[in-house]
């Protein structure tokens, strides 16, 4: 089970009303390499992976939900007072007719989230390597969003999230090495 702390992992400040940026950010909300995909992937894979890396998937999967609500907060702040006209100009007219100002799990192009974005293959090496790739893809997505954004305060939060992808990738790489190294074998250098 989980305990919920009623605060964000890292503060989210948005300087200006910019619904177009929300359209791009939603890629990290309901996109293939977004935070929802990440959280559900890791928290599902953890059941059928060797004990020594279960805790890692548990911790990182949990943190991904913390990232998900940071992204949600950004999108909410960027759109909450936008008029239908402003949303239309931002390319969010299609979103508005289906969801009003509600958030929804789809990517920047409007494709709804699907479980086919993630995999639980049951092979520990295959699963951890997928996780490493997922972190690098999410890191790259953050870079492209930062490149599209000129909001310095929002970018500060996005850079934090990008750095977390790097740390997670590092931990998954270490996990892969732990699974590859022979169990209990002494290593001599």
């Amino acid at each position: 089970m989980w305990y919920y702390e009623k605060k964000l992992q890292y503060p989210v400040r948005v300087r200006e009303c910019n619904p177009t940026l929300a359209k791009y950010l939603i890629e990290q909300y309901g996109g293939a390499d977004g935070e929802l995909s990440a959280a559900l992937r890791y928290l599902n894979q953890r059941y059928s992976i060797p004990d020594k890396v279960v805790g890692l998937l548990n911790d990182i999967g949990t943190e991904e939900f913390a990232h998900l609500e940071m992204i949600a907060t950004m999108i909410y702040k960027l759109t909450k007072d936008a008029t239908p006209e402003q949303l239309k100009e931002a390319g969010l007219g299609d979103h508005y007719v289906a969801h009003d100002h509600a958030l929804f799990y789809h990517d920047a192009a409007g494709n709804p989230w699907t479980a086919t974005y993630i995999q639980g293959k049951g092979d520990p090496i295959a699963d951890i390597y997928e996780d490493i790739a997922a972190e690098e893809k999410a890191r790259a997505t953050y870079q492209w969003i930062i490149n599209m954004s000129d909001d310095p305060e929002l970018n500060d939060s996005l850079k934090f999230l990008r750095e977390r992808e790097i740390v997670h990738s590092q931990r998954f790489r270490e996990a892969a090495q732990m699974l590859i190294d022979e169990k209990d074998k002494k290593r001599f250098f």
């Binding site: 890292y10 890191r139 790259a140 953050y142 870079q143 930062i146 850079k159 934090f160 999230l161 990008r162 750095e163 977390r164 790097i166 740390v167 990738s169 590092q170 790489r173 270490e174 090495q177």
Partner: protein
């Protein structure tokens, strides 16, 4: 910002103004291997939070 660059072929018939140098990100974790125990941490928790990692050896600025 850790990055590599390369120079793609530029055709005399390319329609857009060529970008002569292309770059891609190569953050420090690609080179770290297993992180050493007790590797140095940022002095304050506030700084670590700001950077998104406890360890300077894993930090990659991006702008």
């Amino acid at each position: 910002m850790h990055q590599r660059d390369y120079h793609p072929y530029i055709s005399p018939f390319d329609p857009c103004k060529p970008i002569e140098k292309k770059t891609y990100s190569t953050p420090p974790h690609l080179f770290l291997g297993f992180q050493e125990e007790n590797s140095p941490q940022y002095k304050s928790a506030a700084e670590a939070l700001k950077r998104g990692t406890l360890w300077p050896s894993l930090y990659d600025p991006y702008s």
